[in-house]
């Protein structure tokens, strides 16, 4: 097993051979990947060294101290957080070799073609069809809530390959080329005025069978890897005190005594406490992961932060009084990055409404906690043994 000292030695070697100051950014990142220091828990030859995941911090700290460039992970969150672990688990050797390196260095950005207008919480009901023609699949349908689709080279896609079996059984997982002429990306404007998401229309998109991930009909199981990693990515952050949504409103409170009222004070203090406790919970979860004792607590972090973001930003709009009646800018834009705490209180209030919807609605996540953590029985289901084509819609 590779230990911390070994990683430090390899990191020093990388830095000696490719001095950050005089090396092209992308060349450095490729060298880092080839040295197995990209994601140390990945296999050798695929950017890793089969080392414990917790040791990544050792490498990151050394590289940061040396002023080395990073791969700007926020620009490719879906690629790094969701596509990569799925390719690693289900991809063929050729697929891993082809996709993981450009993904990690950021040369190729990924997006996710999962949700559909008719398949939100009930994702397995999706209707985008993939029909086999020789060595290719011909795909037709509509996807939605695709962040970054307009900047992406590739997409992870799930589509229906067999409508005659129950919905979970007839899905297959593909890698979709976003430059295919049948892919039409249209911005989807949100209540904030901007369009960070897209609708993606797929018309006779041709996908070679070599870009299938996992077996035909096994796409639902493959997608679980993607979705579980999404929740880890959303819940696993490390924050300083007042690091989240509570920071800006606390600052406003301190700097603007004329806005203070007794009633807002009580609400603010309560939310401050809740934020601090949520931060400690996230920190405890992180410590569990580092200690190799992952608990089910991660399932709850997204729920907690969604509620807090909404209540805190709502409070801030009220606190601002007359200014709370204004909005910074309704102009339609397509931002490359989304900063939930960026912009004004009004924007934060509107954007955070999505926090309890994206990545699994609060209602669905509560079901997951109840069934998988507490072991409570599932509701009786009417869709389990019905062929997809016979479901009501």
């Amino acid at each position: 097993m590779t230990d911390a000292a070994e990683l430090q030695r390899r990191t020093a070697e990388l830095l000696a051979a490719h001095q950050p100051a005089s090396t092209d950014r992308l060349d450095f990142l490729k060298a880092r990947f080839d040295a197995g220091l990209a994601w140390v828990h990945y296999p050798e030859g695929l950017g890793g060294l089969n080392a414990p995941r917790s040791l990544q911090a050792v490498v990151d700290a050394e590289l940061e101290a040396a002023g080395a460039p990073d791969n700007d992970p926020r620009r490719n969150g879906i690629g790094l957080g969701m596509a990569a672990p799925t390719i690693l688990k289900y991809g063929t050797e050729e697929q891993k070799q082809r996709y993981l390196r450009p993904l990690w260095v950021g040369e190729e950005v990924w997006c996710q073609l999962f949700s559909e207008p008719g398949a939100g919480s009930d994702l397995a009901a999706l209707g985008t069809r993939a029909v086999r023609e020789g060595d290719e699949w011909v795909v037709n349908g509509q996807k939605v809530w695709t962040s970054g689709a307009h900047n992406s080279r590739w997409a992870i896609l799930i589509a229906r390959t067999d409508p005659d079996v129950p919905k979970h059984a007839g899905i297959t997982y593909f890698i979709c080329d976003m430059t295919d002429p049948g892919v039409d990306v249209r911005p989807l404007r949100q209540i904030t005025g901007e369009a960070e998401f897209n609708e993606v229309f797929l018309t006779d998109v041709r996908i070679p069978d070599s870009r299938r991930l996992g077996e035909v009909g096994d796409g639902w199981r493959v997608a679980q890897t993607t979705l579980n990693n999404e929740r880890v990515a959303i819940g696993g952050m490390r924050l300083p005190r007042e690091g989240g949504m509570i920071g800006p409103v606390s600052k406003t409170w301190r700097e603007r005594p004329e806005l203070r009222t007794q009633e807002l004070h009580q609400r603010l203090l309560k939310l401050w406490v809740d934020s601090e406790v949520a931060r400690l919970t996230a920190e405890r979860l992180r410590q569990q992961l580092v200690a190799g004792q992952p608990g089910p607590e991660g399932a709850g972090m997204k729920l907690a932060f969604a509620r807090l973001n909404q209540e805190i930003s709502g409070l801030e709009v009220e606190l601002r009084g007359e200014e709370g009646l204004l909005y910074d800018d309704w102009t339609m834009r397509r931002p490359e990055l989304v900063d939930f705490t960026g912009r004004d209180a009004g924007y934060r209030y509107l954007r955070s409404k999505g926090n309890s919807i994206e990545g699994g609605t609060t209602e669905v996540l509560l079901n997951i906690v109840a069934e998988r953590v507490l072991g409570l029985p599932a509701e009786p289901r009417t869709d389990k043994d019905v062929a997809w084509k016979d479901l009501s819609r």
Partner: protein
């Protein structure tokens, strides 16, 4: 804040938990605890003897050279989680935490050693509802003797020695036999309160009351969060277990989404409380960021413990309203704990100063 707090449980702490849980399973079963509440001895001295004498847990906070175990608030917190789970009627928080911390502030080594051994039980004669830094009643010190009455003193009935603040600013040790200790009819049957009347009682001056009381109440408040965690955890676990078993409409009621969501929410609150309680225990042990950590834990814990107990009662429905079922013990303890060592509101007010979010 320099170092990150350690929010996990060590292997030794888990072993301690297992041992305490075993002991309480033998001593504090629910029917026994319920029966004891209406007896002449509301405290379970057999359980206390096993915890204090048998396991040495009364001396966890006392250094080894003063007759204790030289452990920290982290281990005490684990013991309190288990005592909360069992709503055990033992004077552990009163004697091994609050009175002990007061004595540590005074350096009263002989008394400290006695409390640490568990042979004697101590109680700080400050009303249970007083928050750290809050105003408390004192007795008159006149002509070398103490006069006055103090109310709502937790576990005074079980105490051998009372630590009494007086109007001259001193904290005095008074033998219980020299005071009139009268039980009050307490809302929380498992942590009974009493009045303490002193009519010319002799007291031994231990030190400065303000310093000792503040230290004692801060530790009491911070570690109470772990007891509240234990209460909440038991009520949630027991409710989940019951709802998987209880059938109505030809299915387990735990399968109805309306109830599942409520239990999942409760689970989230318990997960959060665990982080807050561990943080407070760790901060008391290290002395880092202690005031904020304690205030955060107490501003958060009460609502979780009370919510868990109230949901347990509602979701158990009829059976939960009976004297026979132990839920009421948890509800009463949780509600009393929401006042003990200061309400959540009092701790929020304190936080407003500590983190500079001043009132209008």
């Amino acid at each position: 804040m320099s170092a990150q707090p350690d929010l996990l449980y060590s292997e030794e702490e888990e072993a301690l938990r297992a041992a305490v849980r075993d002991l309480l399973a033998d001593h504090c079963d629910a029917p026994g605890v319920i029966a004891r509440t209406e007896s002449d001895t509301p405290h379970d001295f057999a359980a206390w003897k096993a915890l204090a004498d048998g396991m040495g847990l009364a001396g966890l906070l006392v250094p080894e050279d003063k007759g204790g175990q030289g452990a920290t608030h982290r281990e005490v917190a684990v013991v309190l989680e288990e005592l909360g789970r069992a709503v055990a009627p033992v004077p552990y928080l009163a004697s091994a935490v609050v009175a002990t911390e007061a004595l540590l502030a005074c350096e009263a080594d002989d008394l400290l050693a006695e409390l640490a051994s568990g042979r004697r039980i101590g109680a700080l004669a400050v009303a249970l509802n007083v928050a750290p830094g809050g105003a408390y009643k004192v007795v008159r010190h006149e002509g070398g003797a103490l006069h006055g009455e103090l109310t709502a003193i937790a576990d005074a009935q079980a105490a051998d020695v009372l630590l009494v603040p007086a109007d001259d600013g001193g904290l005095y040790a008074v033998e219980s036999s020299a005071a009139a200790v009268t039980p009050q009819i307490s809302f929380d049957l498992t942590r009974p309160l009493a009045t303490v009347s002193l009519d010319g009682a002799q007291g031994r001056l231990l030190g400065d009351a303000e310093v000792a009381v503040h230290r004692a109440l801060r530790a009491g408040a911070g570690l109470l969060a772990s007891e509240q965690l234990g209460l909440a955890e038991w009520t949630l676990t027991e409710t989940v277990r019951y709802l998987k078993e209880r059938k109505q409409f030809n299915r387990p009621v735990g399968g109805f989404q309306a109830l599942k969501h409520r239990l999942a929410q409760l689970w989230l609150e318990v997960v959060n409380l665990r982080a807050a309680a561990r943080n407070a225990a760790d901060a008391l042990a290290t002395g880092e960021d202690t005031d904020v950590a304690v205030a955060v834990a107490q501003a958060y814990a009460a609502s979780v413990a009370v919510h868990a107990a109230e949901e347990a009662l509602q979701l158990h429905a009829g059976i939960g309203m009976t004297w026979e079922h132990p839920i009421h013990l948890y509800l009463k303890r949780a509600k009393a704990d929401s006042i003990a060592y200061g309400t959540a509101g009092a701790h929020r007010v304190r936080l407003a100063e500590l983190v500079d979010l001043q009132a209008p």
